[in-house]
Structures are given as structure tokens and as C-alpha cells.
Symmetry: C2
Subunit: 446 residues, 2 copies
């Protein structure tokens, strides 16, 4: 692959440490912009993406031939190639997503709490930007406008590292953002920078002085690698082993539709369902309707002994212990019959990945228990697990989905790119008087 001209992206001093240092300086400038200025930059970037469509398409035309060769020789999947390819419609969607984020409420400098500690000693807790965010992703050039919009709207600078297969396209998109930033006073182009090589990624993960947060987007292997090698906090998502539990009190028609949607609509993604848990009292009725539909959609079904006993001639293969803990990411679904709600909850908490799990039931008490006791980021009643997504949740776009309980849990949006600080206003206050008991705190919420 010919190397793209990176002159417009980088100065001569292009070591990752220098990139990070310049990102830090840019982040301080971006954090000072008003909410209106940040929104205006996003809207200008959306227009610039549309106006620059020829340069993006031309760059993408440079990336595609090599990728086609890789597909032909089996080194790249068709799905990956599809994500790499950009057309006019894709560019329009990128611009639309940036405008969607521009429209969201400002996440910065919100007062999260206010307390009068004592006379003339007032404490505020306020949201503020993280600073510099590093995002490592594979393929998908549309990540750039998405993350660019989220990062700038929340007052951060961002360092991007995309897949080398999309190098030209990524360069063209980043160049558009940088040019756009350069037109706004107080908005340095270095608020968005692009890295190029795998070695750059390793360097990036050690810039803990100038980079505050790393977000990996891509395969489980990529996320794991980053988590193991980063000296910087990482927000990333692991596996998605999502469940649909069809309760005794389920509306069977809804259950069939939800199970079908959760498995078939897009099986490769993390919020697709991998296991169907079915209450024994409804199993025969539900399975006799669901199985033919799933079979017709070419879903391979793997059932426990009770399932195959109910439908012995439906072509359901026996499931093994390993199936309960597997994210297929494909048209495969495991099925287990359970005796009661508690068994379903225990199964999910034992084998699930704390991502998204849904109960289908008309029984509000059963739904409440399921949603309280299933220890997952998203718990649903009568809805497909596929709804677990930042855009669908109304977050505008998503940075990713977090299975962690720390900081961000579930789809991550604008707010998850902010942190907070405490601001204390005094009038010469010292601690000694309080330690000696001469003064007492009031701790009055304001």
C-alpha cells in the first residue's frame, strides 16, 4: 500500500509523545470553548464532511483495491470489507450523525452537587472534560466522525488509531476535521490527531502523563490486548453473551418475535442473543412456534435434554456446558428449559457477560425480580436485546458499550466522556480549628 501524504496531518515532530503533548495543549483550549462554540464546530464539520465527499471517496478508492485482494485471498472477511467501503450514502450518514451529536444537551460544567460546609465555605461538584482520549479501532472509517463529534462536544481532544487497511480514508476524514477546527479561533487542529502504526499504539498506551483515557473499539482480542498493555485507564467492552428468558407468564407471540429479532436481525453484534431460557410450563407452546421460524432463518439450535425431548424431530442438536458460556456471534442459538424464574436468573448471573438480558412476561412482579436481580448493564422486559445501543438509547451516538461497573456501564455516550472536579470556595479557612473542635461543619446541601 502506498503511504498517504501525512504532511497535512503531522508536523515534523511526529513521535507519539509529541502527538500526545500537543493533544494535551489542544485539550486545554477546547475545554475553554463555550457550549455554543463546540456545537458550531460540530455543525461546521458536518458540512465539511459533505463538501469534502470527493476527497473521502477518492481516498477510499485507494484503500479498497488492496482490501479486495485481501478478501480474495481470505485474509479479510466480506463483513470487514463492507465496513471499510464508503459511498455517498455513508458520507451523508456520517454528517447526519455529527449533527445528531451537535443537537444533544451540553454535558459540561453542570453542577452535580452544592454543599455549604460551614459559613463562607461552599463546595461544588461540577462536570468537566476528561482531557485527552485515545481511541483504537479496526476498519470502519465512520468511527472518526462519530468519535470526533462526541469528543469535541464534551470538550476533549482525541488521538485516533484506525486500521491500516483504511489508512487513506481515515487520513482524508481527519484532514477535514483538522481543517475545520483551524477555522475557529481557540480551537487548535491538534484536538484531533491520527496515528498510523501498531508500534504507535504501544507508544500511545504508555503516555499516561498526557492521555487520560483509552477506548478500544473492535474485536475481543483487540480490547483484551489494550487492557493488558495500557498504563492509562481503559473503557472497553468485552463479550456479549445476552439472554432472552421466556417466562411462564409470557405472551408467546411477543416472545417469538423478540427471540427472532434478538438472534436473526444482526447476529454478529454484541447485543444479539446467544441463549434462550424457557420456563418449563410454556416451553412446548413457545418452542413449537419459535423453532420453525428460527430454523427457516437458518439458525442452528443447540438444546438441553429437556428441549430435545419436547421437540425430538426438530433438528435441535444437544448443547454442552460450553455452549452456555459462548458468544457465537453467528446464526447459532442455545436453548435451555428452566423450572422457575430463580433458575433463569442464576443461569444468567453465572454464564452471562453482564451485557444485556431480557425477560418476556406479562407478570410485573416477575419482571421486577428479573430486572433487580440480573446483574447486567441493561435489563429489559418485553423488548429485544438489540435495543442496547447508544443511538437507540438516545445518547446520539456511542463511544462503545461497557460491561464494567466502573464509571460507564452499558452504552457509553457523551456523559461518559466527562469526569468531575470539586471546587471549594473559602475565605481563609484552615482545618486546624475543626480538628481542635473549635468549629463544627454544617454540611448543609444547597
Amino acid at each position: 500500500m502506498s503511504r498517504p501524504n501525512t504532511a497535512q496531518i503531522r508536523t515534523d515532530d511526529s513521535s507519539v509523545a509529541s502527538v500526545a503533548e500537543r493533544a494535551r495543549a489542544a485539550s486545554r483550549a477546547i475545554a475553554k470553548l463555550s457550549a455554543e462554540a463546540r456545537t458550531e464546530i460540530l455543525n461546521a464539520a458536518a458540512a465539511a464532511i459533505e463538501n469534502g465527499r470527493q476527497s473521502v471517496l477518492a481516498a477510499n478508492a485507494l484503500d479498497c483495491p488492496e482490501a479486495e485482494t485481501a478478501v480474495a485471498s481470505g485474509k479479510m472477511s466480506q463483513a470487514m470489507f463492507a465496513r471499510l467501503r464508503v459511498n455517498e450514502h455513508g458520507i451523508a450518514q456520517m454528517a447526519a450523525q455529527v449533527r445528531e451529536v451537535a443537537r444533544l444537551a451540553d454535558p459540561l460544567y453542570r453542577r452535580l452537587s452544592a454543599t455549604e460546609l460551614d459559613d463562607g465555605l461552599i463546595l461544588y461538584k461540577e462536570s468537566c472534560p476528561f482531557g485527552v482520549i485515545g481511541v483504537v479501532f479496526e476498519s470502519r472509517p465512520d468511527v472518526i466522525p462519530q468519535i470526533g463529534a462526541l469528543a469535541l462536544k464534551s470538550g476533549n481532544a482525541v488521538i485516533l488509531k484506525g486500521g491500516s487497511e483504511a489508512a487513506h480514508t481515515n487520513e482524508a476524514l481527519v484532514a477535514i476535521w483538522r481543517e475545520c477546527l483551524g477555522k475557529f479561533p481557540g480551537a487548535p487542529a491538534d484536538a484531533i490527531q491520527l496515528l498510523h502504526t501498531r508500534a504507535d499504539v504501544m507508544d500511545l498506551l504508555s503516555q499516561d502523563r498526557d492521555v487520560d483515557l483509552i477506548i478500544p473499539r473492535g474485536s475481543y482480542e483487540l480490547v483484551n490486548f489494550i487492557m493488558q498493555h495500557s498504563r492509562i485507564p481503559v473503557l472497553g467492552h468485552g463479550e456479549g453473551i445476552c439472554h432472552i428468558y421466556v417466562d411462564r407468564a409470557a405472551d408467546v407471540k411477543k416472545a417469538v418475535a423478540i427471540a427472532y429479532d434478538a438472534k436473526v436481525q444482526y447476529p454478529a453484534v454484541c447485543n444479539a442473543a446467544e441463549t434462550l431460557l424457557v420456563h418449563q410450563e410454556i416451553a412446548k407452546e413457545f418452542l413449537s412456534q419459535a423453532v420453525p421460524q428460527l430454523k427457516q432463518a437458518k439458525v442452528e439450535l443447540r438444546g438441553d435434554a429437556k428441549t430435545t425431548a419436547i421437540l425430538p424431530n426438530a433438528g435441535i442438536v444437544p448443547a454442552t456446558e460450553k455452549d452456555w458460556a459462548t458468544e457465537y456471534g453467528d446464526l447459532i442459538l442455545s436453548i435451555k428449559i428452566v423450572s422457575n424464574l430463580g433458575e433463569a436468573i442464576d443461569h444468567i448471573n453465572r454464564y452471562g457477560s453482564r451485557h444485556t438480558d431480557s425477560i418476556v412476561t406479562e407478570d410485573a412482579a416477575a419482571a421486577k425480580r428479573f430486572m433487580d436481580e440480573v446483574d447486567s448493564a441493561s435489563v429489559f422486559q418485553n423488548a429485544s436485546t438489540r435495543f442496547a445501543d447508544g443511538y437507540r438509547y438516545g445518547l446520539g451516538a456511542e463511544v462503545g458499550i461497557s460491561n464494567s461497573k466502573l464509571h460507564a456501564r452499558g452504552p457509553m455516550g457523551l456523559e461518559d466522556l466527562t469526569t468531575h472536579k470539586y471546587k471549594l470556595y473559602g475565605n481563609g479557612h484552615t482545618v486546624a480549628e475543626y480538628s481542635r473542635g473549635e468549629k463544627k461543619f454544617k454540611h448543609r446541601p444547597l
Copy 2:
């Protein structure tokens, strides 16, 4: 040291994996308790600590002789011994702290957001417990009632590992909590468990299935060790290199009092000041008043060339580059003269530890700039850095102080022991219709 009788604490199956598994089961029970029940347990524990004072004092009397020998042979510091020793007053304080936490507002099951995604499809974001929290601490048996109260009030189970020098005292305190829990229906004693050895700590750090969060409390070395070896997310605090910046527009009297308090009142703690930055225009006036007082308190002063030039005969030794990046934790203070506010901010962002920094000024615009641009968890105007503390902030008690920007920043209280989950209520909703454009999201905030 004789091993305490652990029969009351552990069942026969005392492997750390089993401890963690029982903590997980207990956490599910504690999470189901009402706010009233959790508060009642804390108040009962406070009373039980008071009533059980004889057993705690007797246990502490078993720990102290060995510690005294260690102090005599230089293996333990006097400060550490002081923290280990428990008296009647200390027990009364423990009970008071538990009652303080009991009085705080319930942090659980608060609605953080509500959105109508579409007709009949409603999304809630709700606070909930973490689950199981592991706390590793050194010396200080009073950590047990503090953490026990915070963990149970926020619906979590907790696994504690204290210093072996306080083993008997820790056992006695944990036994009181466990006995107290056992008296409440639905509150398993295993919601508080105690580990004993260093090997247990290593085992604990690998229980990522059953432990959700690790909190180390103690030396920088302990925190670093835990961070490097844990497979579980860690919330801990690193160094405290805190600054006082005396602005051109400072009230000199306030500045002297604040600098003195921040350095002298308790120099061993992380929120004590290590560096004084002084605007050149006020340096002579401020230093000529502050230096004699600091000297009288036996503070060693290390100044840059401008400082020693202003007060050549005050016994100020020359500071080196290393001083700016050092947490003394002792009666030592470095001093630097700066030309302007920007230089002070840059110095803090470069050498500080993002813990707590204070500006002394009567100029509101200077204070605003300092507090916006200094990238620290706590930023103060006209107050001693020593106020950065969970109790003083009105959080009741503190789990620790976080220098990280992820999840918790600054003093960590009750809220920081909670996470959140998304609850989505539908009526058979599937994603396919939205993907095909047949339905559109409303995303209406409720």
C-alpha cells in the same frame, strides 16, 4: 503472635474463592434490603460496637505488645503504632462514624434518567450496588467500621484484609458486625468477611467473577502493588503533591494561615501541601511573614533561586528539579516564585498529582481561571488543601481519595460504591422495524 480463633469468622471451607462466592451470595441478599433495613443494621452495629468494647479492647491488648516490640526494634513507626492502638475514645468514635453514615441519604435505586424511546418503550437509568467490594488496608482497625458502614449502606458485601499486626483487633470488630448482621432477617453474616494473609490478597485479586471492585488503602507501594496485580477494577489513590498558589491579589494574612495549616497541621497525609507557588509581586511581603512561622514549626524550606534571593539569610536551602515532583509527607516545603498565574497553573499541571490545589486570592477572575484550568480532583480558593477529605466534604466517611478521572475523583463516599443499570420496558418491541425505517425513535426525556 498467637493466631486468633477464627472459628466464629469462617466456616471450614475458607479458601478465598469460597469466601468470595459466599460474599456474592450475601451481596444479592443485602441488595434486596430496604433503605430502612440497611440504616437499622448500621445503627445496631454502632450500638454493638459500644457494647462490645471490652472484647475489642481485650483483642487490641493482644496485638499491642508485639507491635511495641516492633517499634522498639525500629520495624514499626510510632505513627503506625498510634493508629493500631484502640482506646475507649477510639471505640466511641467508631460508633459515631457508623451512625454518621447511617444518617446519610440512601444512594440506591435513584432514577438517574428516564427516556421515552418510542410509544410504550421506556428506558430508565437507575443507581444500584456494585456487589462485592474487596478492601485491602494497613494497620488502622477503625477502617473496619467505616468501610463496613459505607459498604452495607450502599447495599454491597465487603471482604476485608487488614494488617497482620492488628489481626486480633480486626477479628473482634468483624465478629461484632457479623453477629449483628445475623440478627436481621435477610442480612447474611457473610456480607462482611475478613481475610488474613498476604497470600489471601493475591487470591482475592484474581476473583474477578465474584468480586467487583478492589479498594486499597495504605502506602503508595501497597496501592501500586494492588493496581499491578489485580484482575478486578481498582479504585485507589496515588500520590498527593498538593500546591498552594499565593496570587498577586492574595490577602497575605489568609495566605500565611492557609500555607501554615496546609503544611503543618498534619504533614503525613496526602492532602498536605508540598509546594508553595508565590506571585513575584507579593513574594517579599508574603515570604517575610510566612517563613518565620514555618521555621518556628520546624519546617525545612527549599526555595528556587528567586526565593533565596529575597530571603538570603532565612535558612532556605536551594530546591532542585526533583523537589517539585516529590511528596515529602513530612515537615518539608518547597517554594517557587512565579511571574504570573499562567506559570503557576502550568507548574501544577506539570508536577502535581491531580489531587488538591488551592489559590489564595481576592481576585475572582484569577480564582475562576485557576479552578477551571488546574486539572486536579479538588481546586480551592482561599482554603487549606487539608479540607480535601470525605468527612469534611459531607460524605459521612470516605472510602479513600481517587486521583483518577474514572468513576470516582476526589474523596470517595457512598455514591462511589454504587454503579447503575439501564432498565428498558417494552411491549414486544423488536429492532427490525427501526432498522428498516418503518418506525422512528422519539427519544423524549421524561
